[in-house]
Symmetry: C2
Subunit: 364 residues, 2 copies
Amino acid sequence: MMDKNNYCIIMAGGVGSRFWPMSRLSKPKQFLDVLGIGQSLIQMTYNRFKTICPQENIYIVTNAIYKDLVKQQLEGIPEKCIITEPARRNTAPCITYANFKILSENENANIIVAPSDHLILNEAEFLRIVNKALAITKEQNVLVTLGIKPSYPNTGYGYIQYSKEDSMPKDNDIKKVKLFTEKPDIEMAKKFIESGDFLWNAGIFVWSLSAINKALQQYLPEVYNIFLEGMDYYNTEKEESFIDEAYTSCSAISIDYGVMEKAGNVYVIPSDFGWSDVGTWNALYQVREKDANGNSIVGKNVMTYDTKNCIVTMPKDKLVILQGLEEYIVVDSDDILMICKKDEEQRVKQFLTDVEVNTGVEYL
Amino acid sequence: MMDKNNYCIIMAGGVGSRFWPMSRLSKPKQFLDVLGIGQSLIQMTYNRFKTICPQENIYIVTNAIYKDLVKQQLEGIPEKCIITEPARRNTAPCITYANFKILSENENANIIVAPSDHLILNEAEFLRIVNKALAITKEQNVLVTLGIKPSYPNTGYGYIQYSKEDSMPKDNDIKKVKLFTEKPDIEMAKKFIESGDFLWNAGIFVWSLSAINKALQQYLPEVYNIFLEGMDYYNTEKEESFIDEAYTSCSAISIDYGVMEKAGNVYVIPSDFGWSDVGTWNALYQVREKDANGNSIVGKNVMTYDTKNCIVTMPKDKLVILQGLEEYIVVDSDDILMICKKDEEQRVKQFLTDVEVNTGVEYL
């Protein structure tokens, strides 16, 4: 039976400039069917949580400009479950705001926080671990995060170090956290992997409303108090103008830096459920279906000749002939075409800057 | 002074499948600004002849479906100067039809016949040679063609062999033709070049109306007689239905094969006026402007990185980022994108066939 105190906060405020021009400011990554399977990442995330929480307990926190996209993509989502931010202030204000919204409804909420734009291939294992975490946080004042067992020394993620000895009394799989670290350089990342006690930080958290609010009050009072002041305004017509002001005075800070690195009651569950942050073209290439020549193609009418290991994303009805390409990203987004070698994908942000300098037009 | 008997027949019936997808059935090569200079090939051709013939003497022979395009692109063209063919029957019927239209207006016409989709870089030299030819054909019953002095053993053109000894009595530059040949293989082409008496057949002819009609009557009576029967219908409302039937009964035959290879009064002027038939992507690349990296780009917003010797044709307002491409053809035609190595361009026709087989849609 689904516990009515289970809640979910899905963070969906990103603008996804790394996947430009597939991802645009008007429709960033979380709203795209990046796998070409007929569902966007946020749709997959939302559906995944429907088996854990009642639908009316799944909250989406997103930028105000994406409210209509959310409504359109998440069928049956209650209006009250779309929390809109007037500005981007990283994860701590986002979570705090959502906490107060939930508090006004259910002070016994037990919450999973997750990004909207990650992929999880082994859903059964994911649900098993989340339910294990929820069972703990329901009873105890702890902050639990899911850490991904790393497969190679990635330098694009933060890492979590856990204590090999120290775990939950009743569950040896739930480890005490020793350290949160930022993105390491490659040498450091290699050491992390060798040590065997480092996990990738996937930004997935499980905690009771009271536990996280206690931690926020203690470690981030400057954020917590701003939202506390709005206590009387949530779910009233005064909420919007209060929030506009609150976000203006709030600084951008991550929940990792603001709370998790400081709190003493932080645990991690080492996890392996086919996770990908789908954060780069190469990561997307890894998880997308590929043909016999290693081409991963989204688009109905794409024909390839002498073409290998390319990742291709085309508008549905565009007819595309590719001859003699190897290891390229080929993306057409109607008014933009980008062709770039896969191993040069980090230059996309530079292209975007150059475009804006050259054309004087904001193309994100 | 412009001679009022000077006429021009511009042949504009091609469908230009070699430049697909830049060139489409709905707007083939002759109607495209392939150089990106603001003028289509047919506009350049038309303007070139305006200095030789009165505008009302310049006839365009094209497929009926292109009538509107011709009107739109050739400002001020009189309605009577657009001759539409109901079907494609190669050059002999096309020229014969135009001859009869002109005959009904001026039996003393002195005519230049030229394709609509070639490029001539040295217009002054071209005009000098055309005027020289017109001066001859005005007086004498001869068929003159302009042969291009070849620069390399091209296997895509027909060749004209001239007599080194035998020329016009008064003009040693106008040579008696010995032989018209079809496209040679590479060995043969090399021999042609070495011999020094072979020229490229550019499909440009100069003759008086009476000379060409005499030749047609003698060598192609089966075509000539079909159009002769319509004598009373030209420029009447019965013309269209007569022509529909005439084309149905006419076989496709080139003027080269039907007349030029057989007639005894054929002369050629060896010419060098910067001619290109712009018949392949590589030929187009040769004549288009290129940047410092050898990229020839048509399109307002195309940015290149590590990209060399490419030929790029994009819709005007498309933003395009190309990284890491060398020696490619990159063409976007709104609903079609083609990327193909320059040295594989001969495969374009195969792509088009494959597309039609795979999609069941006619994409030309």
